[in-house]
C-alpha cells in the first residue's frame, strides 16, 4: 500500500490534535504563509474546537495582518544567554589547532632536528635522514612484550605452501628496478650487512 502524501488540510487537522510530525509542521507553517484560504481554515478548525468545548469566542473578529507583518519584519532571533562563551570557544579552537600544529610539525617537516623518541628505547634517535633505517637493522629496540608475543604467535601460525611458491609466477619487478625505494632496499653498498 503506497503512503499518500498528506494534504495541508489534513496536516492542519493532525496539528490541532498535536499529532503532526515535525516535517509536516514545517511544511504547513510555510504553506499557511502563502495561502489565505489555508490560514482561514486553521482559524475555523480552532474556532470549532473552542465552541465544541464551550469556550467563549468572538467569531466575527479577525485580526488584520498587522501581527503577521510585524513578525515578518522582526524574525525571531534566539537570544544568546552567554555571548562570552563564543569568544571562549573560538579561543579554545585556536589553541587546539595551534597545539596540533606544534606537536605534529616535527614529524612532517624535514627541517626540524627532532630527537623525540618514537619507541620506548630512550637511546633510539631518529634524525629524519633515511640512513636511520640502519639502526632498525642493527639494533634491538624494545617493543611491548605482549604485542611481540602475539606477533610471534601469529607468524608461527602462518604456513607457506612451498610448492605454490616455487611454481608462482615471478614478480614483475623489472618495472620496479628503477624505483628509488627498490634501490634503497637492495643496494648493499648503502647498508651494512646484517
Amino acid at each position: 500500500m503506497v503512503n499518500k502524501v498528506p494534504t495541508d488540510d489534513e496536516i492542519l487537522s493532525a496539528l490541532l490534535d498535536g499529532e503532526a510530525t515535525d516535517f509536516e509542521l514545517r511544511r504547513v507553517v510555510s504553506d499557511v504563509q502563502k495561502s489565505e484560504d489555508l490560514a482561514e481554515k486553521w482559524r475555523r478548525y480552532a474556532l470549532v474546537q473552542d465552541i465544541v468545548h464551550s469556550r467563549e469566542v468572538r467569531p466575527s473578529l479577525a485580526l488584520t495582518s498587522r501581527v503577521a507583518e510585524y513578525i515578518e519584519n522582526n524574525p525571531h532571533k534566539r537570544k544568546i544567554e552567554f555571548p562570552w562563551m563564543f569568544g571562549l570557544a573560538k579561543l579554545a579552537i585556536s589553541a587546539s589547532v595551534a597545539l596540533t600544529i606544534v606537536y605534529s610539525l616535527p614529524y612532517l617537516s624535514p627541517i626540524f632536528d627532532d630527537t623525540r623518541p618514537v619507541v620506548s628505547n630512550p637511546s633510539f634517535k631518529v634524525d629524519n635522514n633515511i640512513r636511520s633505517l640502519e639502526y632498525l637493522f642493527n639494533n634491538e629496540y624494545e617493543i611491548d612484550p605482549a604485542a611481540k608475543k602475539r606477533l610471534d604467535e601469529y607468524i608461527s601460525r602462518i604456513n607457506f605452501n612451498e610448492e605454490a611458491t616455487e611454481n608462482a609466477l615471478p614478480l614483475p619487478i623489472e618495472a620496479l628496478r628503477d624505483s628509488p625505494l627498490y634501490k634503497l632496499v637492495n643496494d648493499k653498498a648503502d647498508f651494512p650487512s646484517r
Binding site: D9, L25, V29, V32, R43, A46, V48, T64, N74
Partner: protein
C-alpha cells in the same frame, strides 16, 4: 493535546521559524478577543489591543517556559495589555464629559458580552452540533473519541481496530464536513 500543538509551534518559533507564531495567533484570536472584550467595548479598539497582546507575546516568547499552557500565558499578557490600555486612556484628558463617562462605564462593565456576539456564537454552536450529529458513523466515532474523550490517535486505533492512518483520515474528513457547514454559516 492542545498543549502539544502549542508547544510544537512555540518550539518552531524558538528554532527561528517565526511564521509558526501566526498559527498561534489564528488559533487564539477569537478567545483573546472575548477576554479583551470584557474590558473594551469598541470593536476597533478590541482589535488593537488583541494585536498588541500578540505582539507582546511574540517579543517575549523566549520567556515562555511551558510551566503553564500557552493560552494561560497569553491570557495573562492580554489582561495586562487591556488594563494598561484603559489606564493610559483614562489618563488622557477627556475631550468631553461623555467620553469620561464612557471610560468609567467600560471599566465597570466586566463579564459583559455584546448581545450580537452572544447570538451568533449560540447559532454557530447549533450549526456545529447539527453537523457532528450528521456525520457518518465511523467519522463521528473517531471525531468524538478524539475531541470529547481526548484520546490520542494511537489509542483510537486500538478502539476502532484500524490503522493509525485511517484514524487520522477519519478525523480529518469529519472536520472537513463540519468545516463546510461552518463556512456556509459565515457567508
Amino acid at each position: 493535546m492542545s498543549n502539544d500543538t502549542d508547544q510544537q509551534l512555540v518550539n518552531r518559533v524558538l528554532a527561528g521559524d517565526s511564521a509558526a507564531f501566526n498559527l498561534l495567533v489564528l488559533r487564539y484570536q477569537s478567545r483573546i478577543a472575548v477576554l479583551v472584550g470584557r474590558f473594551i467595548f469598541d470593536k476597533a479598539e478590541i482589535e488593537d489591543v488583541c494585536q498588541e497582546s500578540f505582539i507582546k507575546a511574540y517579543r517575549a516568547i523566549e520567556t515562555f517556559r511551558g510551566d503553564s499552557s500557552f493560552y494561560t500565558w497569553l491570557h495573562r499578557i492580554a489582561v495586562n495589555t487591556a488594563k494598561n490600555y484603559l489606564i493610559a486612556r483614562s489618563r488622557r484628558p477627556p475631550q468631553n464629559d461623555v467620553e469620561l463617562d464612557s471610560a468609567e462605564t467600560i471599566i465597570s462593565l466586566l463579564d459583559c458580552e455584546g448581545p450580537a456576539e452572544t447570538y451568533s456564537t449560540a447559532e454557530l454552536k447549533m450549526v456545529i452540533d447539527s453537523a457532528i450529529a450528521g456525520l457518518p458513523e465511523d467519522l463521528r466515532t473517531a471525531y468524538t473519541l478524539r475531541e470529547f474523550h481526548g484520546m490520542a490517535y494511537e489509542d483510537i486505533m486500538k478502539v476502532m481496530t484500524c490503522p493509525i492512518g485511517t484514524v487520522r483520515s477519519r478525523i480529518f474528513r469529519a472536520r472537513e464536513l463540519i468545516d463546510k457547514k461552518v463556512k456556509d454559516f459565515f457567508i
